[in-house]
């Protein structure tokens, strides 16, 4: 499966990438929401792992953009962020996020979430 890892932290992208590549997934990295939108215009994705706190376009803004675009609105999104305040979680879920994981996450939890969303 092709999975987007959207995070402004290179370390986080690398960690997400390692965890998912080990399970046989292909990973495309993006540094923020805008970068992800640009890359999604040129390719398809089966799932998006999304950080909230990012420059240029944050995760919530990306979710709002995704909602507007029919080509990507169906791609499931797992929100992965340190901002585990309930307000942030509710906002992300209201904007269409499919699952929520707090940092630091455990590999098994991420893999389980991905597996659940990809059926």
């Amino acid at each position: 499966m092709k999975i987007f890892a959207v995070d402004d932290s290179a370390t986080m992208r690398k960690i997400v990438s390692l965890a998912l590549k080990g399970a046989g997934h292909e990973i495309i990295e993006a540094e923020h929401g805008k970068d992800a939108l640009a890359k999604l215009a040129g390719t398809t994705a089966d799932c998006i792992i999304l950080d909230i706190n990012m420059p240029e376009m944050n995760g919530l803004e990306f979710l709002a953009e995704r909602k507007k675009s029919p080509s990507i609105s169906k791609i499931p999104v797992i929100v992965l962020t340190t901002q585990d305040e309930s307000g942030m979680k509710d906002q992300a879920l209201a904007l269409g996020a499919n699952a929520f994981l707090g940092k630091p996450f455990q590999k098994e939890d991420l893999l389980a979430s991905v597996k659940k969303l990809l059926g």
Binding site: S9, L18, K103, P104, K107
Partner: protein, 391 residues
Amino acid sequence: MAFGAAVLAAVSCGSSLLGLGLVGALAAAAAAILGIVVGLFAIDRREDPVQVQVVDEAPPAWALSVSLAQPDRVETKPALEFPELDDARKRLRFARAVAGKVPQLTEDAAFALIERFESMRGNTSKASVSARLFKAALTEGAGSGHPPVAIQAEQTRHVIKSQRESIALMAEHSRQSSKDLRSMGKELESGMDLLKSIEEITERSRLIAFNMAVEAARIGEKGRGFKVIVGELRKLNDMTADFSGQVAELLGRFRDYNASIVGRLAEETDRVSRDVAGGMEAAERAVESLIAASGTADSFAHEIAALAVVIDSDLDGVLESLQFQDITRQMIEGSNAMLDEASADIDASLTAIGRLEAARRNVILLESIRKTLLARSKTRGEKEAIMEVKE
């Protein structure tokens, strides 16, 4: 000092968790700066405006004084000379410079750690593949087109076992042959004994023939026919002696030949048995080594697999803990915002101090002018008018 130590610790260790100490130090620095700023504003307005003192005594940030006798001479220390503010600004600049570097340093450390674990995992999986191939070659004959080494070894072991049995049988046969030949030798000896008694009989009949010849001569013409018989008997005796001599010679040769064969057969059998047994033992050792190697390959493959599991779980732990790098980075970003605010506060304080200074100077001047004018005024109306004049 605590701040500097925290920065050094965070930079040298590259640990994201130590970044938390840095954040605390930054917050403390910001609070200290805010404390100074608050102190600067805490000027007691109830004091005689002529003598204005900063309430915060340690150390007095600034002082303003004016003498009634010389109202034009207002003495102040310029705010920019306050060493605490300069120090705070320097510390802010340093803190921001360091805070800017820490996320990159911790990220570099995180990447180096991940790279090391990935290379370890790569090496284990390579070793694991090699061990599997080795084991497969031994037990499954994978890819070689030949039957597996272990099966070949097992077959060889069976062959060696039946060879051993054949050789034991051969040695047994050889021993039996030696025994048979030896008893034949004994029979030959007894044949020689028999020949001796034949010789004895021949000797005796020769003696009888001689006596008969003497008797025949004595009886004269009558013994003529008897003489012929004695002659025939002598011929027979000679022939018998000749024949038994030939047989004795033949038997003797036969006996020697037999003895030599018996000796050589025993010797050869021993040598062949020894050589074959030695070869068999070597082959057996080789086969046992192969079978043992197969077991070693198996346990080696298991050990590598176990090591790979340990490395994988260690890597998972590292990946989990490295996520603090991102959390620390966000905290540092937050403390950077606090530093920006503290910096703005210092600038605003300096401006406010400047404005306050100017205003106080005006008030003091106004009051001294008012007092002079009141002293000089003559009427009540004049006094009231002077009192009504505002700043």
